[in-house]
């Protein structure tokens, strides 16, 4: 573990303690049953910390092995992170079947666009910083997809319990700070940013600790049970009403446009 400076080790210890606190809250308040994937994500993070201790204390014949193993373990954690977020979104949008369907499509489209942009942005750095680019690309895709879903929730005025808001906010905050930190380091240290690993670890771990504190605050009470029963309209109602309303709104817009043009002409 001598490869890391003392502040990084301290922060790492704090992060593990915060993760243990979140896990304890999940089990004590009975939230682990409501959020199995989120519980798995926190557990996996703790296991990853143990795995990394082993990886960095062991002597490897190939010096690149610890880095590859560490990043591979990160990949697994990130996949579970995506599942945990989808789980929370699904709980929030479960009573709104139509909007959940729309949310899935929004997730697919935004993720597709983000992956394309990431591929374009990373093409010149790929050979140099493969893992780094993958990590940033993932967080970019994750943050944009999550924000797209949250915008959808906001647009349709869907009430989200504050605990779920905090959980989603923690994920999004962590991803956004990861993008910023990765990009700023790349910008300031150019091709030498691997030599400043301690700075990168300090900044990313700090943002993760902030996210953990937010999650602990969200989980200090049992999560509300989502048992809303909506008076749903039939599909036929929507199919009939929606085009009619849109047509009226379109007419209203035309009137406004005509009013504006006429007014401009008369001046």
């Amino acid at each position: 573990m001598g490869i890391f400076p003392l502040p990084v080790l301290w922060l790492w210890a704090c992060s593990v303690l915060a993760q243990l606190l979140v896990l304890t809250l999940l089990f004590l308040k009975g939230n682990s049953r409501k959020l199995p994937y989120f519980t798995a994500y926190v557990t996996l993070n703790i296991c990853q910390a143990g795995f990394l201790v082993f990886v960095y204390t062991h002597v490897w014949s190939d010096p690149d092995t610890p880095k590859t193993l560490a990043w591979t373990s990160e990949c697994v954690t990130l996949i579970v992170q995506a599942l945990a977020t989808t789980e929370i979104l699904e709980i929030t949008l479960r009573p709104y079947q139509g909007i959940w369907g729309l949310g899935w499509r929004a997730l697919t489209v935004t993720s597709g666009i983000a992956v394309l942009l990431v591929a374009l942005a990373a093409r010149s750095y790929w050979a140099l910083a493969r893992w780094f680019e993958l990590d940033r690309g993932y967080h970019l895709t994750f943050a944009s997809a999550l924000i797209a879903c949250l915008l959808l929730v906001r647009y349709y005025s869907i009430p989200v319990p504050s605990a779920y808001k905090l959980l989603l906010g923690g994920f999004c905050f962590y991803s956004c700070t990861e993008i910023m930190v990765n990009t700023l380091l790349q910008a300031y240290f150019q091709n030498d940013f691997f030599r400043h690993a301690a700075v990168w670890q300090l900044s990313t771990m700090s943002s993760f600790v902030v996210a953990l504190v937010v999650w602990a605050a969200a989980l200090r009470k049992p999560l509300p049970v989502e048992d809303r029963r909506l008076a749903s309209t039939s599909d036929a109602d929507y199919q009939r009403l929606s085009p009619e309303i849109n047509e009226d709104l379109r007419r209203l817009n035309e009137k406004l446009l005509r009013l504006w043009k006429l007014e401009a002409r008369e001046q």
Partner: protein, 193 residues
Amino acid sequence: MNSTLLLLIGFAVLMLLLLVWVLRDPRKHAKPDGDLGSTDELCQRHVSYFPQLRQALAAEDFVFLSSRGSPQLARRMRTERRKIALAYLSCLRGDFLKLWRLARVIASMSPQVGVAQELARLRLGMAFSLRYEMIRIEFLFGFAPLPELGSLSDVVSRLSIRLETAMNNLGERAALAAKLASSLDDGHGLDTR
């Protein structure tokens, strides 16, 4: 720092700002006219005041004042008319926003939502807001023709009636669902978790 990196930082900052905006409680920051309000309130729409407004803004009064050679009074009347028209336009916008939100509520309660329909409504709402602002600016510098304002009111009025019918249907369905839920809870409770 190259443009790609700048773009990435800008994107991350934008995401953080959007996060703060989407997570804050909309009820705490909602404008009073943006509320859906009760059905009674919906019935008392601003469009219903259009006949009074038309009377107050009648061109005959203006011609009469001009013919009597009182330009100062005519100018004052023009300014006051402008203020009234602006207030009326603002009220119409409030009505539009309420109705637009009602349309979204109907969509959110539907088991299936059409992407094309929703995108079209979003586009219409944005276009309305943009045009409203343009017209408002025009009103500030001139005076819009009254007949056009009238036809605008007719459209809002029609839209209002259609949505009120839809809301009544929804109300009936809500009552039915509540009745069904309570009858299920009385017997073997329905676990919706």
